[in-house]
Every structure is written in structure tokens, then in C-alpha cells.
């Protein structure tokens, strides 16, 4: 206290700035001098005070399982960052290398299937958890004064996450990535006035290619994660500033009675839920390897479909014809986003109990029902039309590579020669309706009934009327490699490593 008086005196007395600073320092020293038991790091970093403030702060009403969504999202995001960095170590963003490097990650890099699988499916859980988190925040009325800005940063986090989902979708450069992104960029280009310019900026040129990949990669790997980290810091700061929104059905005395510190009570629950998510993701990835289709080929017909969480928008676009297209691609989505963003200022009532907020809950119910309904409807009614039998004249055969065959070359050979009928996963499912005799390479029983010699002969000589002979088109080495490649379909990918 005495030091402060001295400071004031120093200024009033016309003391130089230098002495002012010195006194300020002395003041600090006196105020927060090292506690005797702080230890080496404690006295140098102040981590005890930090821990006290960040971890030990009591949570009103005690720890709750329902409060774990936010931490779970953060955990999911950290998983995405870790797996993302690992993927970057093997990924090469260019038209000639993107698909090949992802194929390498998926089939050859040790545990690549796991890393890519968690990253792939983790993006879906991220979207699901975000929507659940927002649902909970909405029902609890947690966006109301003074937490408006917490909600708004949350909506920006939703936008950044969807941006990550969109930009990440292109990076494997397989067929679905290419066409889904082409449609996505097409949607951007319908924005009035600036749409066409935005398309050029996103694509990095008049057409999708190398510069589109590098730009999407920069957005996906640097810009959007950076934005998310910044927003999460603000979001968490605001959350801690205003505290957990208390349940509307509990009285103040009740809440005060039940206080528990954040660490370890709440974090224990958060960690259990996080462990569950991790186990689910690993299990799911083991049974459902992340898909990788054939390499993008702009000359091949393909039925473009977005990831499931954009299917409602995809379906919506069917309803807006001609000049009204922009309603579905731009006006409605941005209107929805604006309402979501400014919602705390549109609903200014102070009641938290949902039963006392009939208007807000009705709007919320209708939105959820129509979003979920439209998504289910879009996926359920999406019968991909069977390709009409338009004869596609084949491109001139590629020259055989001089170097010893690498796995990837075989994948390319398969893509060029076999995939049209046998499908990228070897099941032949796409054509089975038309040609019931097409084999399923992934069927272990089918595999057991054929010898290696059978494979080679069948590829060499074909089997009229459908299977063409390849002895004039491919070298013996290439045929051998394709036979091995076909054998490998019976082995489940994760188990192969």
C-alpha cells in the first residue's frame, strides 16, 4: 500500500518515468513475493496460482455428465490435430501425388489406416458432437445474457468446423472428393456478384487442379485450425468468466451446497466420456476403414454426393429451379446462419426453463425436426441411378513402367483396367445387377476355390463374353502383380497390418 502512495507522489511530484517504473517493480515484488513453499518452478512460473484458478475453481451444482460435451469436443479436436499432423507427414498435395500418397497412408504406412480412419470418422463425430452441444446449450438457455458472446463464438466454431469438413473432403483427390468439391465450389459461385470471383479464389485458377489442392490444404491445415484455436481460447475464456449455466430446476441454495472443484471431479467425468469416444472411433475405424475411391478422373461419369451431414443441403437444392437456385445455395443457408449467430439478441427473455420459453422451443423443435428429417429423407431416397450403358471408348493403354512394380503402380493398373467392372473395393457390387456372374474378390470362400495359376490365366486369357483378355495389353509382370493385388482383397485392410 505504501508503495502505491509513493507512486502517486512520484507522478504528482514530477518524478521521472524511470523512477516510476522502478517503484512499480518494487511494488510487484512486495505484493507477490515468492511464497515460502512455492518451490523452484512455482516461484518462477506461478503455476500454483494458475492451477488454483483454472483447475480448482468450484463448479456450481457439482460435476455433471451432461457438462462433458464441451470438453469432449475439445478432445475430439485435439485428436483431429494429432492425426492431422501425422497425415501431413505422408501427404503430398498435388494432382499427381495426392491420391497416391493417401493410398500409401491407407495401405502401406504403418498404422496409416488407423490414423486416417480416426481423422476421417473423427470429422463426423465432431459435427455430431457440435450439434449435440448446441442443442444442450439451447435447451439450457445458456446463450442468454451475459453469455451472448460465448454462443456467438460457438456458432463461428461451427462454421469453421464445417469449413474444415468441406476443405478436407477434397484432399484425397478421389472421384467423390473431386465431384463433391466441384459441386461445392459451384454452390459458392452462385453467390450474387462475387460468386464467380470467390470460385476463382478457392480454385486458384479457372479449373480445379494443383492450385485448388494447395489452397484447400492451406485452409484445411493452417487457416481454419488456427481460427479454431483462437476461437476456442475466447470461447473457453468467456465460459470460465461466466461459469457453467446452472440447471433451471435447482435452487440457488441447492447449487451452492453442491459445489465441487473442476479438477478432479468434472475432469474425471470428461475423461471417461473422452475414453469412450476414443474407443468408439478406434473400433469403428477397425470395422469401417476410411473410404478411398478411384483416383479423380474428370472424364469419367460419377454421381457426386457430399458427406452425409451436407446431404440435407444437397437435397434442398433440388427444389430451387432456374433463377431461384440462389435461394437454396446462398439465401436460405446464410439466413439460417445469421439467425443462429444473432439468436441471443433475438430471444432476450430471461427465463431458462424450456417450459417458459414456448416460442424459442417451438422454433428450435421445428428446426431440429426439419434438419434431421431432411437428412434422413435425403439419404433414404437417394437411389443412385445405375449408369446407363453408354460405351466409353477406352483411352490408349499406358506404357509399362520400367522400374520394378511398386504397390502403387499396381493400384493404378487396377484402376485403369479392372475397376470399371470389379469396383475399387473388389466387390464388383456396382455391376452385379447387370452381370450376376461377376465375382466378389473380398469373399474368402471364393478366394479359396481359386489357385494363383487360375488368377493369372483368367487375367491373361479373359473369360468370354465379359472378362477381356489382357495378355496383349499388359506384361507378364503386371499380370502377376494384378493377381497378387486381387488376392489381397480377401484380407481385411486393418488386419493386414
Amino acid at each position: 500500500m505504501g508503495a502505491r502512495v509513493t507512486t502517486t507522489n512520484a507522478i504528482a511530484g514530477g518524478g521521472s518515468l524511470k523512477s516510476d517504473v522502478m517503484i512499480q517493480n518494487a511494488n510487484q515484488l512486495e505484493k507477490s513475493g515468492p511464497a515460502p513453499a512455492a518451490g523452484f518452478f512455482g516461484s518462477r512460473t506461478g503455476w500454483r496460482e494458475l492451477k488454483e484458478h483454472v483447475l480448482l475453481e468450484p463448479v456450481l451444482g457439482g460435476s455433471r455428465w451432461a457438462a462433458a460435451f464441451g470438453s469432449l469436443l475439445l478432445f475430439n479436436f485435439i485428436l483431429q490435430v494429432i492425426t492431422g499432423i501425422l497425415l501431413v507427414t505422408c501427404y503430398a498435395p498435388s494432382v499427381g501425388t495426392a491420391w497416391q500418397s493417401v493410398k500409401y497412408i491407407q495401405t502401406e504406412a504403418p498404422l496409416g489406416w488407423l490414423v486416417r480412419g480416426i481423422h476421417h470418422w473423427g470429422s463426423s463425430t465432431m459435427v455430431v458432437l457440435l450439434l449435440l452441444h448446441m442443442t444442450q446449450v439451447f435447451i439450457w438457455g445458456a446463450y442468454k445474457r451475459p453469455r451472448e458472446l460465448t454462443w456467438m463464438t460457438g456458432v463461428l466454431l461451427l462454421a469453421a468446423t464445417l469449413g474444415l469438413a468441406f476443405t478436407g473432403y477434397l484432399l484425397p483427390w478421389d472421384e467423390r472428393a473431386y465431384w463433391a468439391s466441384k459441386v461445392g465450389i459451384g454452390i459458392v459461385s452462385t453467390i450474387p456478384l462475387i460468386g464467380e470471383k470467390l470460385r476463382l479464389l478457392l480454385q486458384g485458377g479457372p479449373d480445379m487442379g494443383n492450385l485448388t489442392l494447395t489452397r484447400f490444404f492451406a485452409l484445411h491445415g493452417f487457416v481454419l485450425p488456427g481460427a479454431i484455436i483462437g476461437l476456442v481460447v475466447v470461447h473457453l475464456y468467456l465460459f470460465r468468466l461466466h461459469g457453467v449455466t446452472t440447471a433451471w430446476w435447482r435452487s440457488k441454495e441447492d447449487l451452492l451446497k453442491d459445489r465441487q472443484p473442476f479438477w478432479p471431479n468434472q475432469i474425471f467425468k470428461d475423461a471417461i466420456v473422452a475414453l469412450a469416444l476414443l474407443l468408439i472411433l478406434v473400433g469403428w475405424t477397425y470395422s469401417h476403414p476410411a473410404p478411398l475411391g478411384a483416383m479423380a478422373d474428370p472424364s469419367k461419369a460419377y454421381q457426386a454426393r457430399p458427406e452425409w451431414y451436407f446431404m440435407f443441403l444437397f437435397r434442398l437444392l433440388r427444389f430451387f429451379h432456374g433463377p431461384y437456385e440462389v435461394l437454396g445455395t446462398f439465401v436460405l443457408p446464410s439466413l439460417f446462419f445469421c439467425i443462429l449467430f444473432f439468436w441471443p439478441f433475438l430471444d432476450r427473455g430471461t427465463a431458462l426453463d424450456p417450459r417458459r420459453r414456448p416460442k424459442a422451443m417451438t422454433i428450435f423443435g421445428i428446426s431440429v425436426l426439419s434438419l434431421v428429417g431432411l437428412t434422413i429423407y435425403a439419404i433414404a431416397t437417394d437411389v443412385r441411378m445405375i449408369e446407363p450403358a453408354a460405351a466409353v471408348a477406352s483411352a490408349p493403354p499406358r506404357k509399362a513402367p520400367a522400374a520394378p512394380l511398386q504397390k502403387l503402380d499396381v493400384a493404378n493398373l487396377y484402376t485403369a483396367n479392372c475397376m470399371a467392372c470389379h469396383a475399387v473395393d473388389g466387390t464388383g457390387n456396382a455391376l452385379r445387377v447387370a452381370f450376376p456372374t461377376i465375382p466378389n474378390f473380398t469373399d474368402p470362400i471364393w478366394q479359396k476355390t481359386r489357385t494363383d495359376k487360375d488368377f493369372i490365366l483368367r487375367i491373361q486369357d479373359g473369360k468370354p463374353p465379359l472378362m477381356p483378355a489382357f495378355k496383349d495389353k499388359l506384361s507378364a509382370e503386371q499380370i502377376q502383380a494384378l493377381a497378387d493385388y486381387t488376392r489381397a482383397f480377401a484380407v481385411k485392410q486393418p488386419a493386414a497390418h
Binding site: I11, A12, G14, S94, V95, G96, W179, K182, V183, I185, G186, I187, S189, T190, G195, E196, K197, L200, L201, Q203, G204, G205, P206, D207, G209, N210, L211, T214, D297, P298, S299, K300, A301, Y302, Q303, A304, R305, F314, L317, R318, F319, F320, H321, G322, P323, E325, V326, T329, R384, M385, E387, P388, A389, A390, A391, V392, A393, S394, A395
Partner: protein
């Protein structure tokens, strides 16, 4: 003594201005770099190289729409590459007259459009656009019909000029390469 707050305010204005100026200095080239693709001059796209060989006309089935692959050469960032595209070709009869060539890119949002021989229509599998056997729009969201492409008959072969058109608009606007 009284002038110290004034001097401090002056100093804070100067510091703010300094930082703002510095930010502008950094941001100008950043923005210029990012919007580079907008400022790039459109090349002389009309060049001969845009025509690509779509094959011998005799080998193209007559009286129906056939998807023909073509190879075009494009500057793709740092490399010049040969890229594959495909075009819908219709040859009426063996006398090689009545040729029509259409881009398979749906003018709605850019999906590739297949020919449905049974219905004698082009049907977009994405958002349900339907086009007649001449490529004209029949129904669905697309704002215009499928885009016709220029072609030339050179000797026995059909040469097609690949072009991209802006999607989502009723007018046919060529995207400058």
C-alpha cells in the same frame, strides 16, 4: 505536469497509428498474393491447342449419344499437364453429317450428366436436371440447357474444342483459361 496525460495520449495515438500502418504494410502484399488468381490475365484461350481429337468418326456409334474421352493440355499451376475430359457426341448417320457435341458438365452446379437411352434424355444424377436429346433443358433446377461445344472434322477424325462455362447462370459465359 498537467501535460503528462496529454503527452501520453499523443504517444498512444502515435503508437496506434504506427501499428496500424505496419499492419497495412504487411496485409497489402498478403491480400495481393491471395487474390492473385483474380488478377491473372486471361490467356489467349482461343488457340488451336484447345481442339482435341475425339476419335475417328466412323468408329462412333450412329444415331445415339456416346461419351468420348479427349485429352486437353492445360497449365495447372506449376506444370503443363495433359488432362482427360469427356464429351457427349451424336453422329446422325454414316455420312458424318448431323454431328452434335455437348459438354457433360451440368450447368446447374457442375455434376457430370449421363445419357439415359431408355428415356431418351440426359438426366443429372445430382439434383435431377433433365435435358432433351438436343441438350435443351426440360425440367429441374438447371438454369439452361447443356452447353454445346465447337467441333471440326479433320480428315476422318472429329476434333472438339473443350470449354468450361460458368455454372448457375442462364447465359452461356465461357470461363477464360
Amino acid at each position: 505536469m498537467a501535460d503528462i496525460p496529454d503527452r501520453r495520449r499523443f504517444l498512444s495515438i502515435c503508437t496506434t497509428a504506427l501499428i496500424a500502418g505496419m499492419s497495412g504494410l504487411i496485409l497489402t502484399p498478403v491480400v495481393a498474393f491471395v487474390i492473385g488468381p483474380l488478377r491473372r490475365k486471361a490467356g489467349n484461350a482461343a488457340a488451336e491447342s484447345d481442339f482435341a481429337d475425339a476419335g475417328v468418326i466412323e468408329s462412333i456409334p450412329k444415331g445415339t449419344w456416346t461419351l468420348r474421352p479427349i485429352e486437353i493440355v492445360r497449365q495447372d499451376g506449376w506444370v503443363k499437364t495433359s488432362q482427360s475430359r469427356s464429351v457427349w457426341v451424336f453422329v446422325k448417320s454414316a455420312e458424318s453429317n448431323g454431328i452434335k457435341v455437348l459438354s457433360p458438365i451440368c450447368p446447374h452446379l457442375g455434376c457430370p450428366v449421363p445419357w439415359d437411352a431408355a428415356a431418351s434424355q440426359f438426366r443429372c444424377p445430382c439434383h435431377g436436371g433433365v435435358f432433351g436429346p438436343d441438350g435443351a433443358r426440360i425440367s429441374g433446377p438447371p438454369p439452361r440447357g447443356l452447353d454445346p461445344l465447337e467441333y471440326e472434322v479433320r480428315g476422318k477424325n472429329l476434333w472438339v474444342r473443350w470449354q468450361d462455362f460458368e455454372i448457375g447462370v442462364a447465359q452461356r459465359i465461357v470461363v477464360q483459361v
